[in-house]
């Protein structure tokens, strides 16, 4: 039993990372109606930025928050300079552009950082705690704590501030929002900035758990995040968080007890995406809205 709980805790930790990236996907999907395939690569790029800052000798948390700020600006710029120019096109065009961005960012990172394996500093101690026979890694607690803090801050921003309300309104009803003076196109850019920040945190948290990383760090994580977002419902932030945690725990448990499954985690995630899209396209929390006219 203790063994199972141990697997659950580390499953929640990896699920927290999936949840952050899934939230980023949901944030952009809600406002633009497209899945941002470049989300993982944006996160990978941010992780390299963090590595670079640390390599130049900045203290860990200074580098961490500086990376978030740079990522935010980067996300806003990507929306303004790239996505905005195709925003009036069909969804397929925008999706294609995000796939282009994926390739571009991957190539750029390989070029800038020479495609070598890098090691990102781990902010958490390698200690373990024994809680009633359950061995819990400090790193897992750290990852869960940071993910939770980010989710709470994002929730408070969206639900409790004037700009957060405008951001949600712009996603739900852009035309009416403009009539109320909301600068809708800037709200979209703000959404991309926030998504980039979420991705950056996910990348910075996940990189140390892998030992070393290169420009392909986030490709598998993006698949898991996408599965989490689809599971929760692509338009539901709560769904993204729940989906991420559920996926993390389930994959971890199955992987721990069924030997060959460790290699099948990615195909399993893809199968999950396919299954949900076929059987329950709204996911667990995707809302169907009541509308009267």
């Amino acid at each position: 039993m203790a063994d199972v709980l141990q697997q659950v805790v580390s499953g929640i930790a990896s699920g927290g990372v999936y949840a952050l990236l899934a939230l980023a996907l949901v944030l952009i999907y809600r406002s633009t109606g497209v899945v941002n395939f470049a989300q993982g690569e944006m996160a990978m790029f941010s992780t390299f930025v963090c590595w670079e800052l640390l390599d130049r000798g900045l203290p860990y948390w200074v580098a961490f928050f500086l990376t978030l700020a740079i990522s935010f600006v980067g996300g806003v710029l990507i929306e303004r300079l790239v996505i905005h120019t195709v925003s009036r096109s069909q969804a397929l065009t925008v999706v294609t552009v995000t796939i282009g961005l994926l390739i571009l960012l991957n190539g750029a990172a390989a070029w800038i950082w020479k495609g070598e394996q890098r090691t990102l500093e781990n902010p958490f101690p390698s200690d373990t705690f024994d809680v009633g026979g359950v061995v819990i890694a400090a790193q897992d607690i750290g990852i869960i704590g940071v993910s939770l803090a980010i989710v709470v801050v994002l929730w408070a921003f969206l639900q409790r501030t004037r700009v957060g309300l405008a951001l949600r309104a712009a996603a739900l009803n852009p035309e009416s929002s403009r009539l109320h003076g909301v600068r809708v196109s800037w709200m979209l850019a703000l959404g991309w900035g926030l998504a980039a920040v979420l991705g950056a945190v996910a990348g910075i948290l996940v990189a140390p758990t892998q030992g070393s990383f290169d420009q392909n760090l986030m490709l598998p994580v993006l698949i898991f995040a996408f599965a989490a977002a689809v599971l929760g419902g692509l338009d539901s932030p709560i769904g993204a968080v729940v989906g991420g945690v559920v996926l993390g725990v389930v994959l971890n448990l199955v992987g721990a007890y069924i030997d060959f499954f460790a290699d099948l985690r990615l195909p399993a995630a893809l199968l999950l995406i396919l299954g949900i899209l076929l059987l329950r396209p709204n996911g667990l929390f995707g809302r169907s809205v009541v509308r009267r006219v």
Binding site: R162, L165, A166, R168, A169, L172, N173, E175, S176, S177, R178, L179, H180, G181, V182, R183, V184, R287, V289, V290, R291, R292, V293
Partner: protein, 237 residues
């Protein structure tokens, strides 16, 4: 003569290649309610959209003597609230959040609070429905919510598109009464597009009748009521 609050001079508007307005000239004075009447397709809705910038337009558009900006956001920030066709409800958001969005351009917290209280006085049922999803309100309630959102912006001019559409006569009368009262009490003006000419003229100082994108008749409410062709075509007696 005093400069009107809103002046349109020879305004044209088009949807793609289709021209919807062929040179509209009208004005709305301070503290006036002006109605725009006409059949379907006469260009009533387009006239409002031309003012708020949600359709491509050309010609002279002046608000308070200054040219109107092109983007809807900028027009809204000047103090023009547009209650659009379809009511513009944020269906997924709560009633309370809808009202907050109405006041989005405002920075004065105390003014917001007192206006909120006043809106609740006119629409008492809003108070108990604060947390309800706005999309679950009935059509009449959503129309009232749309008006309330516009009031919350404390605009100088309110544009209202067919408030009577699909609503029972009693509710229509209530809506117009509240609109008239609010405008008089706060020194605002309104330009109201309406098919129901009787109710509209009853609550207006002046009116315009549009036919195929042009002003066909204009005058005070009494003049329009006395005009035989207007009476036959739009008032039904």
């Amino acid at each position: 003569m005093q400069v009107p609050l809103l002046e349109l001079e020879d305004v044209e508007a088009r949807y793609g290649a289709v021209r919807a307005l062929h040179g509209i000239t009208l004005d709305v004075g301070e503290r006036q309610v002006v109605s725009v009447l006409g059949a379907n397709g006469a260009g009533k809705t387009t006239t409002l959209r031309a003012i708020s910038g949600t359709v491509r337009r050309s010609g002279g558009l002046r608000f308070d003597g200054k040219a109107l900006p092109r983007s809807p956001e900028a027009v809204a920030r000047l103090g023009i609230a547009h209650v659009p066709e379809g009511r513009g409800t944020f269906a997924e958001l709560s009633v309370d959040e809808n009202l907050k969005l109405g006041a989005y351009t405002r920075r004065d917290r105390s003014g917001y609070a007192s206006d909120y209280e006043e809106v609740l006085k006119h629409f008492p049922w809003l108070a108990e429905r604060r947390d309800q999803q706005a999309g679950t309100l009935s059509g009449g309630e959503q129309q009232m919510l749309a008006l309330a959102r516009a009031f919350m912006a404390r605009p100088r001019l309110i544009l209202v598109d067919e408030p009577s559409l699909g609503l029972a006569p009693l509710i229509v009368k209530q809506l117009f009464d509240v609109l008239r009262t609010w405008i008089d009490e706060h020194g605002m003006s309104a330009l109201v597009v309406e098919q129901n000419a009787n109710v509209a003229l009853e609550h207006s100082e002046r009116g315009y009748v549009l036919e195929v994108g042009r002003v066909a008749v204009e005058g005070t409410a009494d003049e329009l009521r006395g005009n035989e062709s207007v009476r036959k075509s739009y008032l039904g007696y």
